[in-house]
């Protein structure tokens, strides 16, 4: 039996209509064709499916779709505004933090949640925050550099 509910997706009110046992990741990818969030481990270890729910980084494979009823969901496609890229996205480009790109959306959104909460994290804090996001290409060096560069400098 499909369930119907409203939630706010990338700033717009949306109607979801999905079997209640499906994950938020299924909802985003299947119903809304937002494929930036990826499925890569099915065991809550890789972080490739990360999205923001009410500003917090959430692994969208690990929560059921109806749990976002009435809440704000932001995916990589909704990051940045009319005037272009989010500073984190620009920093990922400028610092060569992208290789195959499969982990990139999850990495950026995890970093976004961190910087929103702690605008000036140390490198150690950035690394600690990224332990739930796996990357096989970069050795994380340029990802960490990009996030440090995107800190809100006072």
């Amino acid at each position: 039996m499909k369930q119907e509910f409203e939630f706010i997706l990338n700033g717009e009110i949306c109607d979801a209509y999905i079997e209640p046992w499906h994950s938020l990741l299924d909802l985003l990818r299947e119903q809304f064709a937002l494929t930036g969030a990826k499925s890569a481990c099915q065991s809550m270890t890789c972080g490739a499916c990360t999205v923001l729910v009410d500003g917090k980084a959430v692994r969208s494979c690990s929560i059921l779709a109806p749990q976002v009823e009435g809440r704000h969901v932001v995916t990589i496609e909704g990051l940045g505004g009319e005037d272009g890229l989010d500073p984190l996205q620009q920093a990922f480009i400028d610092h060569f933090a992208v290789q195959c790109g499969f982990c990139t959306p999850g990495m950026i959104l995890t970093a976004k949640a961190l910087l929103d909460e702690n605008p000036n994290p140390t490198e150690e804090e950035v690394r600690m925050h990224l332990t739930g996001n796996l990357c096989r290409c970069t050795g994380y060096v340029k990802i960490v550099e990009a996030i440090l560069a995107a800190r809100k400098k006072d």
Binding site: K38, I93, D94, T131, C137, V144
Partner: protein, 783 residues
């Protein structure tokens, strides 16, 4: 080195914008109308005969649109250079746990999973062999492939893969014995040596773990043509397999590879795609095969595990006098996906760096009843290089010589002959070693504090890699009337940045900015032929082809412009959308004027050039392995690491890491750094954590919780990670470039493990050096 406008500059990746916005499309993101979902049923036994398969219940399940077994597959074996693998057990025998025996296509993935449980398979279990040393024995308990000598061989068709197939009549599980012999008799060398050092090294099996799991959409049209979209490293490699295996015209096979979410070698595999094709043919619907992580680790293939024996003779002042290496390469149940070739190629690590007057190498490819093997970033070179460089440290310690000095003493030189008989050229090993040693000197070990449970150690390593002379890459360029250059080639974008590098080459050739270059790739319908993104070859092969394509296009453009400028073609040059007289930039014509106002005045909307690259190759003598040109080039690298080891818990922290590589020329230095850092990430995992664990052939940890790849916390800080470009130009490469990717995971493993052993004062000759292994080694040392 010459300064260029775009070459050698760290211009941003041309695919970065799509990737940071989530717009980049991977096969996993793509759906086709009417698409079914596939699942594969695997064998629960490591070795068994199939008595019967009953698919009738599965076929009756609502939503199931196709079930296939070995009966639906062509009745032949698959594989190159040795065809040893059945598809869906079409000869009635399974040889590893998970080997596909049947597959289902259904309306939903849930229905497909349910249908798998309804397929009934009766097996007669057969004895199995898992241990590579046991399987290698003359009286091996189990023969994995009793009909080995009847299998079809393609080694004569592809000698560039550098591995002849040589069976061992008395060792039934050996699928090839690769031999290198050079110089004096090793026994004489050992007798003359002041010291003989002999060790046995053991490695775990590891896996690539690209973040995107294997994905494939197979479509079969009523006229018999097939279209495959998949996570592939070689669209033409795939096309060749599908064309041959299904015996159809190449004109009816189209292969597409969108962005690939990492590959590291495992996406050279094409057998799983063949199963998707069978399902598409049976159901006459598009079929998507999307692996879970569990599927990708059990049905996807592995990097082999090794046992490596090294016996060295050395003089007391540290010169190697003789070396005999015996390598056992555990190929698993099948080596169809090119794995046989890597028996030779993994051995290159022992052949290109040091000078040894008496040398003998025997590498044996051995079948076991484990998951089949496939290339992984340096095709087993990581493990072989690790053993060799551990051995060098053990020798240094025995002789009380500084490990860097020992390596320096034994280095080959430019112009010398390496151990396979090739003249040494573009030899950057010394430069790399010097740079790493210099950096490591600054990373001096802190004084040990009394009672400190953390012990500090330094380690160094040296190594080489190569590219194969395998067939060809081609490139085409088109020049549009608005001055945009379109570049097309076959090699896939796996994250390494090849699109950007090739765009840089075209931009340099035409004197335009990077935004005037458009890259076309990833589809056999539009990209000209090229082998694959393998063997670190794309920059060199596709790059060389592209330089030639650009030159041909420019010749045509100059021929057209010459009369208009009242000059000869030889007197012209072009840049920034203009053709002009050399030295007189004002005497110019716009590209758009060449085409005329409609863009078609000369019967052209575009002007084109085509180029190709093949590399000379001389087949080696099968008994000695000697050849004057076996590989395209060798790249060299050195690595240094400083670690802290907790002697209570066994935990290892990598504090500092420095790598130097001679990639010929860094066309995009930041992209090169990215490769080097990524190589450290994988190398650190292989050195300290990564191991596929088996119980009677069944994989115990097919998930990312129990298979531990490195996280951001385990890598050293940005400040303490140093990537050095120690380029030595390669005359035959585009702008002097060789290649880089695979080399970067070769050296870190030995440097890290050498540092751990240095910290503990104990030799640990098995990887990964897990916490348990550290604690056990300390316990044993105390006895």
């Amino acid at each position: 080195m010459t300064e260029y406008k775009v070459i050698g500059k760290s211009v941003p990746r041309i695919d970065a914008l799509e990737k940071v916005t989530g717009r980049a499309k991977y096969t996993s993101d793509i759906k086709v109308p009417g698409m079914l979902y596939a699942k594969i049923k695997g064998s629960p036994y490591p070795h068994a005969r199939i008595i019967n398969i009953d698919t009738s219940k599965a076929e009756k399940l609502r939503g199931v649109k196709g079930v296939v077994t070995g009966k639906d597959a062509p009745q032949k074996l698959i594989g190159s250079p040795l065809a040893d693998m059945p598809l869906l057990a079409n000869y009635g025998i399974v040889r590893y746990v998970g080997e596909p025996v049947s597959a289902v296509a259904a309306d939903t993935i849930e229905i497909a999973e349910e249908a798998l449980d309804l397929i009934e398979v009766d097996y007669e279990e057969l004895p199995a062999v898992f241990d590579v040393e046991e399987a290698f024995r003359e009286n091996a308990p189990v023969i994995v492939h009793p009909k080995l000598s009847d299998y079809e061989r393609l080694d004569k068709d592809f000698p560039e893969m550098a591995c002849p197939i040589q069976f061992e009549p008395n060792r039934p599980n050996v699928f090839t014995h690769y031999k290198v012999r050079q110089g004096e008799d090793v026994e004489v060398g050992f007798r003359e040596a002041d010291l003989v050092v002999e060790n046995r090294f053991v490695t775990a099996r590891v896996q690539h773990v690209p973040l995107e799991t294997l994905q494939c959409i197979a479509q079969y049209d009523l006229n018999g043509s097939i279209t495959i979209m998949s996570t592939l490293q070689g669209i033409y490699l795939g096309k060749a397999v599908f064309t041959n295996y299904f015996d159809i015209s190449p004109s009816k096979v189209r292969v597409i590879s969108p962005y690939v979410g990492g590959a590291f070698g495992c996406r050279t595999g094409t057998s799983m795609q063949c199963i998707a094709i069978l399902l598409a043919r049976k159901s006459l619907r598009p079929v998507k095969l999307a692996f879970t992580r569990d599927d990708d680790m059990t049905l996807g293939f592995h990097n082999p595990n090794f046992v490596i024996y090294i016996k060295d003779g050395v003089s007391k002042d540290g010169y190697l006098t003789a070396r005999h290496i015996k390598i056992l390469y555990d190929g698993g149940a099948y080596v169809a996906e090119h794995s046989l070739s890597f028996v030779a190629q993994c051995s290159e690590k022992a052949l290109a760096t040091y000078r040894i007057p008496a040398f003998k190498l025997d590498t044996y490819g051995v079948y076991t009843n484990k998951t089949p093997t496939i290339a992984m970033r340096s095709v087993g070179g990581v493990q072989v290089a690790w053993a060799l460089e551990r051995q060098m440290d053990i020798i240094a310690e025995r002789l009380n010589i500084d490990p860097t000095k020992l390596r320096r003493k034994n280095l080959l030189k430019e112009g010398a002959i390496n151990l396979i008989g090739e003249p040494v050229s573009s030899f950057g090993a010394k430069k790399c070693l010097d740079q790493v040693a210099k950096w490591m000197e600054k990373a001096e070990k802190p004084e040990p504090e009394a009672n400190n449970v953390w012990k500090i150690g330094n380690g160094i390593s040296l190594g080489s890699h190569f590219s194969i002379c395998a067939p060809i890459s081609t490139a085409t360029v088109k020049l549009y009337s608005d001055g945009v250059i379109e570049v097309a080639y076959a090699e896939d974008e796996l994250g390494q940045g090849s699109m950007t590098v090739l765009a840089q080459i075209a931009a340099e050739e035409f004197g335009v900015s990077l935004d005037k270059v458009k890259v076309v790739r990833g589809d056999t319908a539009s990209a000209p032929v090229g082998l694959a993104s393998v063997a670190s070859r794309t920059t060199y092969f596709a790059g060389n082809a592209l330089v030639r394509a650009c030159q041909e296009a420019k010749r045509k453009i100059f021929a057209l412009a010459a009369p208009m400028l009242e000059m000869t073609a030889e007197e012209l040059e072009m840049s920034e959308g203009k053709v002009y007289v050399k030295g007189v930039p004002d005497k110019a014509i716009l590209i758009s004027d060449l085409f005329g106002p409609t863009g078609v005045a000369h019967g052209l909307e575009t002007m084109a050039g085509r180029g190709e690259h093949r590399d000379p190759f001389i087949e080696a003598d099968p008994e000695t392995g000697q050849s004057k040109k076996l590989y395209t080039w060798h790249i060299y690298g050195a690595y240094g690491a400083q670690v802290a080891v907790n002697v209570q818990t066994g935990k290892v922290k990598v504090l500092k890491a420095v790598g130097a590589y001679d990639m010929g020329r860094a066309i995009n230095p930041k992209l090169c750094e990215g490769q080097m850092e990524g190589g450290l990430g994988i190398g650190l995992g292989i050195a300290l954590n990564e191991a596929l664990e088996f119980d009677k052939g069944a994989l115990l940890n097919p998930n990312l919780i129990d298979y531990k790849m490195a996280t951001a916390m385990e890598l050293p800080s940005v400040e303490n990670t140093k990537s050095i470009i120690a380029a030595v130009p390669c005359d035959s490469g585009p702008y002097g470039a060789k290649g880089l990717g695979e080399m970067t995971s070769v050296t870190p493993v030995a440097a890290i493990t050498n540092a751990v052993c240095n910290a503990l004062g104990i030799a640990i000759n098995e990887i990964p050096i897990t916490r348990e292994r550290v604690v056990r080694a300390l316990k044993e040392a105390r006895k």
